[in-house]
């Protein structure tokens, strides 16, 4: 379950702004399997509203969609109903994957791990997830973790500099890529690659509009804002307002976007179950 965001509540508005980022890169990662994509059994660990499952379900043999939030799972079911290859849905805790051993050809975990642990705890639920992930994968099975580097947390969205307290708090919830590599090696995985989908953004609608930050719907699509106090949000919006008034906002966004274009917003960490 998310330690800091109410996804049952957010499920009503999440898809107004969020989209699945990096589907091509994800499919390339899945293609590393010995099993052709069309015959793979894939676990979508942290499926949310099913944005990634929707893109993959016509291409992958079988998808099992798992999430803690009933609200998100219901959205996922609505989204996937009526199409070819209806997915299985399971409500569970990612740190206690309720599946039999050796089932899955691959597991994808998209933007979910950072919800599992409180800061400063050493990521125990990440480790539990990794242990279960190894157990439920077939030999040579793939684990693909879609996450955000600490640099991307700061500079992957143009507003990151306006909400620095939230960015600092987010950074404590995200294991670094090196940390993930270390934890997954301890759990019995072999690191294969880390790939950044560089060209797109997670919230394309209104992304470059300064006024988007004033929309609660838009903010609910970026869980940085869940970690911002009311006062901090007011201060950020006040600063935004001053830049809009003095005309500096567009140069500010352009400059911030130069960094984002270079580093991307997310990263896929790809690993294989080691013998």
């Amino acid at each position: 379950m998310s330690k800091y965001t109410d996804y049952d509540k957010i499920s009503a508005t999440y898809d107004r702004t969020r989209r699945a980022l990096g589907v091509d890169e994800l499919m390339q990662a899945l293609a590393r399997s010995r099993v052709p994509l069309s015959r793979q059994t894939l676990l979508d660990a942290g499926c949310g509203t099913g944005n990634y499952a929707l893109e993959l379900r016509d291409k992958v043999g079988r998808i099992v969609c798992a999430d803690y939030s009933l609200g998100m799972l219901n959205r996922c079911r609505e989204k996937l109903s009526g199409g070819r290859g209806a997915a299985d849905l399971v409500r569970c805790d990612l740190a206690e994957l309720p599946f039999r051993a050796g089932l899955f050809d691959a597991i994808m975990c998209n933007q979910s791990l950072h919800h599992l642990d409180e800061p400063g705890t050493g990521f125990p639920n990440h480790r539990r997830f990794l242990a279960h992930a190894r157990r439920v994968l077939r030999p040579d099975g793939l684990l693909i973790i879609n996450t955000i580097t600490h640099e991307q947390l700061r500079d992957g969205v143009w507003w990151g500099e306006l909400i620095k307290p939230a960015v600092d708090r987010m950074t404590e919830r995200f294991a670094s890529v090196d940390g993930l590599k270390e934890m997954s090696a301890e759990a019995g995985f072999q690191f294969l690659d880390a790939v950044v989908p560089i060209t797109a953004v997670m919230q394309p609608k209104g992304y470059l509009e300064p006024s988007s930050l004033r929309s609660a719907d838009f903010r609910s699509g970026d869980s940085h804002f869940s970690l911002l106090t009311e006062e901090e949000l007011e201060a950020a919006l006040a600063r935004l307002g001053r830049m809009e008034s003095d005309g500096s906002i567009h140069a500010y966004i352009s400059k911030r976007e130069e960094a984002r274009a270079r580093i991307g917003q997310s990263i896929f960490v790809i690993a294989k179950k080691a013998e």
Partner: protein, 72 residues
């Protein structure tokens, strides 16, 4: 209410035991742990805190499970 193929891949979150469909098809049962996990609109809720402890009498009252593949 639940596809057989899905039941075949599920396991008790507590210790990985196989599950069976309970009477009335409203729950999934782990006989080893004596836990009943709810099925809500066909979605298995396999979270320990959401499970009901059935106790030995509760388990005895359930029909013998048909799906009892051993845990791998």
């Amino acid at each position: 209410m639940i596809q057989g193929e899905l039941l075949d891949i599920l396991a008790c979150p507590s210790a990985g035991h196989p599950l069976s469909l309970g009477e009335g098809e409203t729950h999934l049962i782990c006989r080893e742990c004596q836990l009943a996990f709810p099925l809500i609109d066909g979605i298995p809720v396999l979270i320990r805190s959401e499970a009901r402890n059935m106790g030995p009498e509760g388990i005895a009252g359930e029909a013998p499970g048909e799906r009892r593949q051993g845990r791998e």
